[in-house]
């Protein structure tokens, strides 16, 4: 409850023109949105584009936010729409479809991004690269279901609402996504 309350206080203050409150609000969520972006787009530069677009969307619509929903759900609804937009723009699915044959291209991009970082982060990088290579096998729709379920701990009802489908469809998508992960991992031995 504490989190929700502070969000609402910051929103009220930001709407009154407090830049301090706005910055604090952004700081509270930027990491969650950015990491969401990295998992969904597979690279940090698209993730940063997504982050900026999401917060612009939040800023433009802040006055429309009603306390009846959790602010985090509201943010992830915006993030969801932006992810779909960006994907449409970049035709990400087409790119990802090609990666099924070899190791995905953007994995190299991710490794490239971290080239100059110290070794202590190597384990983190490997863990993250593995996640991204798994998610890369999925369609955006499936990736989003996995993201929202596994990382954002949303209910199937919330996911369904966000994607404009029934809860059963959301459940089926989740299952299909996991099945697909299993199939590709059997082909590529990703998880062994």
């Amino acid at each position: 409850m504490g989190l929700i309350n502070e969000d609402e206080a910051l929103i009220a203050a930001a709407l009154k023109g407090s830049a301090y409150a706005w910055e604090k609000l952004v700081k509270r969520y930027e990491s969650r949105i950015f990491n969401y972006g990295v998992r969904i787009t597979g690279n940090t530069s698209d993730a940063m584009d997504l982050t900026q677009e999401v917060f612009l969307g939040i800023y433009r619509n802040l006055h429309r936010f009603r306390g009846d929903a959790k602010f985090s759900s509201w943010i992830f609804r915006i993030a969801h729409n932006k992810a779909v937009d960006i994907n449409r723009r970049k035709r990400l699915t087409t790119t990802l479809a090609h990666t099924n044959n070899d190791e995905p291209d953007f994995l190299e991009t991710v490794a490239g991004d971290n080239r100059y970082e110290p070794d202590k982060k190597l384990d983190d990088q490997q863990a993250n690269s593995r996640v991204i290579s798994m998610l890369a096998r999925l369609s955006l729709e499936q990736r989003l279901v996995i993201e929202l379920k596994v990382y954002q701990s949303l209910t199937f009802e919330e996911i369904a609402d966000m994607q404009g489908v029934s809860a059963n469809t959301a459940k089926t998508r989740f299952y299909t996504a996991l099945k697909k992960l299993k199939t590709v991992s059997e082909e590529n031995n990703v998880l062994s």
Binding site: A9, G17, S18, W22, N35, S185
Partner: protein, 226 residues
């Protein structure tokens, strides 16, 4: 061959309100069904791999602050807060201009105010009137400072009220933080206002002084002609 229950069990397992009883039932089935057991092993491994994600730090960015400040500054300007106050010294200057150039004397008597032009006002009277206006100036300024203080206070109270209304179980710590911020902001705004107002007043006094010299010169000329 696959077990028809796999999908349902898996969805249940990741469902929102998984009760311990339901979990137990799923586990019982897994113990007796090799198919489901196999599938679950993979899914749980995949799940734990995904949970192994380590948050990457966000690259530096401006957090939309530039846009925010730009839009909120122009909003404040269009509210015309300063625009209104800035008229006050100008109006006072105008009155003084009349006093000095037209040599208007305002004499308050039992029947009210008498306004006369020229004739009866001496240089001494002029000095007296100027001193009076100066006095008014200071009073006016204090009033303004108080009014602005109140305005800012009520603004803060308003914000706090909104916060209180929208916050069902606000922790005192949060409110303290926000209040401290507004208090700090209020003091800074007050100080800014005081400085700006003082500058306006100073520039008006420059005008008064030169007008005063002009008036002295005019009355000296008058005396010389007589």
């Amino acid at each position: 061959m696959s077990c028809p229950k796999t999908q349902h069990l898996l969805q249940e397992y990741f469902s929102d309100g998984l009760t311990p009883l339901a979990k137990k039932e799923i586990e019982n089935h897994l113990n007796s069904c090799e198919q489901c057991n196999d599938e679950f092993k993979f899914f749980l491994l995949a799940h734990s791999n995904m949970k192994g994600w380590k948050d990457q730090s966000v690259p530096h960015w401006d957090r939309g602050l530039e846009l925010f400040k730009r839009e909120h500054r122009s909003e404040k300007e269009s509210m015309g807060f300063w625009g209104r106050w800035q008229l006050v010294p100008t109006a006072i200057s105008f009155v003084m201009l009349c006093v000095l150039l037209l040599n208007v004397s305002v004499i308050s008597g039992e029947r009210g105010f008498f306004v006369s032009f020229g004739a009866n006002s001496s240089n001494l009277q002029l000095q007296y009137q100027l001193a009076e206006i100066q006095e008014q100036y200071l009073v006016e300024m204090d009033t303004l400072v108080n009014q602005v203080g109140e305005w800012l206070d009520s603004n803060n109270v308003q914000v706090l009220q909104v916060v209180m209304e929208r916050t069902r179980e606000a922790t005192m710590e949060n409110l303290d933080l926000i209040y401290a911020y507004f208090e700090q902001q209020r003091l800074r705004d007050l100080e800014d206002m005081r400085i700006s107002y003082q500058e306006l007043v100073d520039s008006d006094y420059e005008t008064i002084r030169s007008l005063q010299q002009l008036a002295r010169f005019v009355s000296y000329q008058d005396d010389a002609v007589r």
